[in-house]
Symmetry: C2
Subunit: 206 residues, 2 copies
DNA sequence: CACAAACTAAACCAACCAGTTTAGTTTGTG
DNA sequence: CACAAACTAAACTGGTTGGTTTAGTTTGTG
């Protein structure tokens, strides 16, 4: 079912996907030529078309592979053992920020936004495999914090969404559009602000 | 200096910019052909190249015009007369959300992200004329609320950034990548959640 | 009416691109 | 060694693109 798994030269496939990803993230979908992908993958164009039905199919394969990777990456979002809400939120925030600002996640994010209009299914697949599942995991964490009386809120999903969104402020935006960083909105400052606000907004009743 | 202002047929120019904007926002920069822009503007291709040096120049002109429009749009961000923090924050949030979700702002946002790598100066120009100035205006509003003892926070810019960012959550993201809306994260719910959290996080000391 | 600026349609150019085909080479396996 | 699957380089097709040019038309003004 899953594909009989071709011999060792499935390394070619990886090379193609890697090269294509780099090309697409650098230049966008339309501006990337299959010839260039072939060259950078050290592979002939015919081989690309032997593995993928079309340029579109190749693009889809990249997004799907990314979705699988994301699933793994999520497991690193474990929460540290602590009874201090600030410690836990800060640790989560650090991991999230590192994830958001990583070149791969950032690059895929940019291209999904750019291509969402022409590849709606891919955008949906990516969003559900990545951001949505990530938030679901965070919901578990937040529910646990609530159960332990460290935080309080009415709606877990909305609390998580607000917390995550606060991390995606000025700092995130500047990186996304290649602007130089603003020291007043450094990664550290962003995390600290978000955690401070969350601690107040989600403070348990006394 | 400013350009001697061509005769009435600068209406052509507007038509070209309008058509180009629609094309670029629909299909992205690379997938839009100058011929198509010409057709949709009801103009010959030669006329386009008489007004703009290149496709790139045309693209730049659109972003710049958008920056001017944004400057105007900001003045509509006046705050209502009220001594209730919730009322004021809710009113601001409504205006911001309407702005963020409007097709033009959304479209420009998408394309700036997509083209930031190849047009860094434009991304900078747009960001400073739009989001940055918008936040500066909000800082004035927030400072005023603090002065009146309705809210409290240490750093105005960070408070504003956090508030604005909370509005750009799940709801905003779904629109951005053309996903169907999730009723649990409706515009109204997003605003209510953000305002509730802000009121707690920015509550004045008793 | 005359004149110049701005416009038009259409042909044109050189470059590029997705995708195919051909003819030949590598490579692992029995 | 033999055989088949996977690969390669390179040429080729049909189509598109940014940009230019040409030759002719509209338009407003004195």
């Amino acid at each position: 079912m899953e594909k009989p798994l071709s011999p060792r030269s499935a390394a070619k496939r990886t090379a193609m996907l890697d090269a294509a990803q780099r090309c697409f993230l650098e230049s966008g979908y339309a501006s990337t030529s299959v010839d260039e992908v072939a060259t950078r993958a050290g592979v002939s164009k015919a081989t690309i078309y032997a593995h993928f039905a079309s340029k579109d199919d190749l693009f889809g394969a990249i997004i799907c592979r990314r979705c699988d990777d994301q699933a793994e990456g999520l497991s690193s979002l474990s929460l540290p053992v602590s009874s201090d809400a600030r410690t836990i939120l800060t640790a989560i925030a650090h991991r999230l920020m590192a994830l958001f600002l990583s070149p791969e996640v950032m690059g895929i994010y940019r291209i999904v936004i750019a291509e969402a209009a022409r590849h709606p299914e891919l955008a949906k697949t990516w969003y559900e495999a990545g951001p949505l599942r990530g938030k679901q995991r965070l919901c578990d964490v937040f529910d646990d914090l609530k159960r332990r009386g460290l935080l309080d809120f009415d709606d877990t999903r909305r609390a998580v969404d607000a917390f995550v969104s606060m991390l995606r402020g000025e700092c995130f935006h500047r990186v996304m559009i290649n602007l130089p960083p603003n020291p007043h909105f450094s990664t550290e400052a962003t995390i600290e602000t978000a955690v401070n606000f969350a601690l107040k907004a989600f403070a348990p009743k006394v």
